[in-house]
Structure formats: structure tokens, C-alpha cells
């Protein structure tokens, strides 16, 4: 039974948490946002041309090696100029490049365009080596009311089912199907806030606020890691985003807000 499971796992290469990195992963993680879907689609679009060119070029190469073998054909043809073929081999690749560039730019510009007003803003502040998240939309004074640190669960500590080096003690809870603005910054050195299934990778630069927006389309737990070398524990400051329904998000936030404002 167990072996069967393992075989199946290896056959299909992927299993269980499709929103986290996994051993020997070759492809993308499942898309959770339209942006990631766009990235995956662009990848497939480009691979169509890539495979076509690869096959064509290797066919030419093999054919040339075969037909112009020095024993078989010691004196090659002495053509040095051919206008038609030169025009074709200049125009045709540029058309291919255009076909790649158009969807690529469309995606690129739609990614950093903020079209709609977001419903919530979350600040992700990188520290050496943990992250602080601030939900300040509900503040009524400069006092921070909903701020927490997110540390990795130490390697000898994870409970059954938790991912090693990926799980954190306090996850970022976001509502699904809601436009979210994430402000990424750092308090010390460069960090990067990256969650592959959301298609987000945003550098955290001290003194600067970088904005990225996501729209998580399904509830789930999404894992990411720091993606900018930031020191000794660079590998040990993962990101966990938990997308819940909007209702659950509301109750979660109000539960966390009320005790804190009560004591203040």
C-alpha cells in the first residue's frame, strides 16, 4: 500500500501540497491568482515556439552534418550569397520574436498595473530573519493594533504534516477573491517576498515601499520563501499565506482586534 503510494507519487511526480515547493519538482505550482495563470500560459506559449525552433534547428544541423560529411562530400558547394534565403531568415525570426513579445509585454504591464482599488492593505516587513505583518486598515490611532511576527517553525519542532523549513508560527491570513495590496519593505537588508502560486516576487528594500497586488482565487495555504540573499538565515524565513473566505477573514480579524483594543 505504502509502496504503491510512493510509486504513484513518483509516477506523477507531484502530490499533496500543490501550493508548496516539493522534492524534484519540475513544473510550476498550481496557480492561485490570475497573474500566475498568466505566467503559466505565457510559459506554454513561448514553449510552443521554443520547441518548434529547437526541432527545426537540430534538423538543419543533423542534416548538414550528415550530407556534408568530409568522406561523403569532400567538396562542399561554394555558395556565398543568396538574397532570397537571407531575407527569409531575417524576416521570419523577427516575426517569431514579435509573437513572443506581444503576450509577454501584455502580461508584464498588467502585472504592475493597479487597476482597481484594493480592499485591504497588508504590509510585509522583512527583518533578519523573520517577517512582520501589519494589518493597519482597522487602526483608529497611530498605535498598531494588528501586527505580528512570523517566524519559521524550527527544524526539530514541526508537527506531523507540517512542511520542513516552510511552516511558520503566524501565517498571513488574507481573504480569498478579494483584491489585496501588499506593501513590501524591509527594516534592515534586502529581502524578497515571494509566493510562487500567487505569481508574486517582490523585493523588500529598506526605506522604500514596494507594492504588489494579488487576487487569490481559491482558499488554501500558499508557501513561499525569501528570495533575496539576506544573511545567515536567508533560508529560514519562509512565507505562508493562508487564504480564507471573506467571512472567516472578518471574524479572524475582529477576534484579533478586540482583545488588543480592549487592553489598550
Amino acid at each position: 500500500m505504502k509502496i504503491q503510494m510512493i510509486v504513484r507519487e513518483w509516477l506523477f511526480f507531484t502530490i499533496a501540497p500543490c501550493d508548496a515547493a516539493e522534492p524534484w519538482q519540475l513544473g510550476f505550482q498550481d496557480a492561485a491568482t490570475p497573474m500566475m495563470q498568466g505566467i503559466i500560459d505565457l510559459h506554454h506559449d513561448i514553449f510552443f515556439f521554443l520547441i518548434l525552433i529547437l526541432v527545426f534547428v537540430s534538423w538543419i544541423l543533423v542534416r548538414a552534418l550528415w550530407h556534408f560529411h568530409y568522406k561523403k562530400n569532400p567538396i562542399p558547394q561554394r555558395i556565398v550569397h543568396g538574397t532570397t534565403i537571407e531575407i527569409i531568415r531575417t524576416i521570419f525570426p523577427s516575426i517569431i520574436l514579435m509573437f513572443i513579445a506581444i503576450p509577454s509585454f501584455a502580461l508584464l504591464y498588467s502585472m504592475d498595473e493597479v487597476v482597481v482599488d484594493p480592499a485591504i492593505t497588508i504590509k510585509a516587513i522583512g527583518h533578519q530573519w523573520y517577517r512582520t505583518y501589519e494589518y493597519s486598515d482597522y487602526n483608529s490611532s497611530d498605535e498598531q493594533s494588528l501586527t505580528f511576527d512570523s517566524y519559521m517553525i524550527p527544524e526539530d519542532d514541526p508537527e506531523l504534516g507540517q512542511s520542513r523549513l516552510l511552516e511558520v508560527d503566524n501565517r498571513v491570513v488574507v481573504p480569498a477573491k478579494t483584491h489585496i495590496r501588499i506593501i513590501v519593505t524591509s527594516a534592515d537588508v534586502l529581502h524578497s517576498w515571494a509566493v510562487p502560486s500567487s505569481g508574486v516576487k517582490c523585493d523588500a528594500v529598506p526605506g522604500r515601499l514596494n507594492q504588489t497586488s494579488i487576487l487569490v482565487q481559491r482558499e488554501g495555504v500558499y508557501y513561499g520563501q525569501c528570495s533575496e540573499i539576506c544573511g545567515t538565515n536567508h533560508a529560514f524565513m519562509p512565507i505562508v499565506v493562508e487564504a480564507v473566505s471573506r467571512k472567516d477573514y472578518g471574524s479572524r480579524v475582529s477576534n484579533q482586534l478586540i482583545p488588543q483594543t480592549g487592553e489598550a
Binding site: 496557480a31 482599488d117 515601499l209
Partner: protein, 190 residues
């Protein structure tokens, strides 16, 4: 149901569950939920209804399904009044369809919850259309303090700027700027 949904279908949001963009839409929803009786009813496909008696997810919008005649099939009615979608999909010629009294509860709670916790934040500002939002935060902070300087402390029209800069600026920055203002070393035009 026969064909597997395409990727775009799989990932598109259902019609009545529009992503939250701004506040006014939700407030309108709260008002209209009371007169839900007169809202449009929609039927699930007849086959699906007979197989499974529980109401299908509200996400399934199948307004083009024929009117279900069988009286015992629970007619699903969407209680979430789609304020602005009502006109777009009102080809449901089903005035005769009876309404089941147990409307799915869970869709309404979204708007109820939203009253408790307002999903509201600083809007996208077209002075700052880029990824770099540093000046957005700084400008909102200055706008608030200029507003209070002009209209007096805790003037209600300044509150929105306070909300905006609190949403955008890291707490650490706000603390530092507040300190600088007290010391008179704040580097901005106040």
C-alpha cells in the same frame, strides 16, 4: 457538466461573487437583502437537482436552464441580491417558480461581516501608479497633517487621510515621523 471546464472557466470568479473593490457596492447589498423576495430566482439544471437534494453552490449560475416543473425539486434561489448584475442576467422567465424558504445562508454573511470589519483601505492613487509607493505613504502623511493644521485637530474630513497613511506606512516610519514632528525636524512641508 459533461466537458471539463477550461482553465479560464476554472479560474474565473463566479458572476455574483464579485471581487471586493470598494465600499459602496457592499453597502448597497446590505440594503437590498431585505427585499430579496422579489429578486430573481435561478434554477439549477434539472438533472443536478434530482440527483443531489442539497442546494448546489451559489457559484453555479445557470440562468439559461429551463424552468423546472417538478414541484418537489428544491428551487434554489440566490438570496444575494446582485445589485448591478440584476440587469445583465434577467432573462430568467420564471415568475412561476416557487421559492424555497431555506435560502442558503452563507452568502449573506459576507456582507454582514463586512459591516463588522470594513474591508476598506487606501484607494489606488493615480499620482503613484508604479510599484514604488514610498511617496504615496509620505504624501498621505503630509496631507493629513496639513489638513489638521488647516481645519483643526480631529476635523472629521481629515480622518480619511489618517486612514490612508496608516494603511500605507509601516508603523515604524509613522513613529519616527511623529517623533520628528515633535522635535521640529520633520523633513516635509507641513
Amino acid at each position: 457538466m459533461a466537458a471539463a471546464p477550461s482553465l479560464s472557466e476554472q479560474y474565473s470568479l463566479p458572476k455574483d461573487e464579485k471581487p471586493v473593490e470598494s465600499k459602496p457596492a457592499e453597502e448597497a447589498v446590505v440594503e437590498t437583502t431585505t427585499e430579496v423576495v422579489s429578486e430573481k430566482t435561478e434554477e439549477a439544471p434539472a438533472a443536478a437537482v434530482e440527483e443531489s437534494n442539497e442546494a448546489p453552490a451559489p457559484a453555479v449560475e445557470s440562468s439559461e436552464a429551463p424552468v423546472v416543473e417538478s414541484s418537489e425539486s428544491p428551487v434554489v434561489e440566490s438570496s444575494e441580491a446582485p445589485v448591478d448584475d440584476a440587469q445583465t442576467s434577467n432573462e430568467d422567465a420564471a415568475p412561476a417558480a416557487e421559492e424555497s424558504s431555506e435560502a442558503p445562508e452563507q452568502e449573506e454573511s459576507g456582507s454582514e461581516e463586512a459591516e463588522e470589519i470594513k474591508l476598506e483601505t487606501a484607494p489606488a492613487d493615480f499620482r503613484f501608479p508604479t510599484t514604488n509607493q514610498t511617496r504615496h505613504c509620505f504624501t498621505r502623511y503630509i496631507e493629513y497633517h496639513r489638513c489638521t493644521a488647516a481645519k483643526g485637530e480631529d476635523a472629521p474630513e481629515c480622518d480619511k487621510f489618517a486612514k490612508f497613511y496608516r494603511s500605507l506606512c509601516p508603523g515604524e516610519w509613522i513613529d519616527r515621523w511623529n517623533e520628528q514632528r515633535e522635535n521640529g525636524t520633520f523633513p516635509g512641508p507641513l
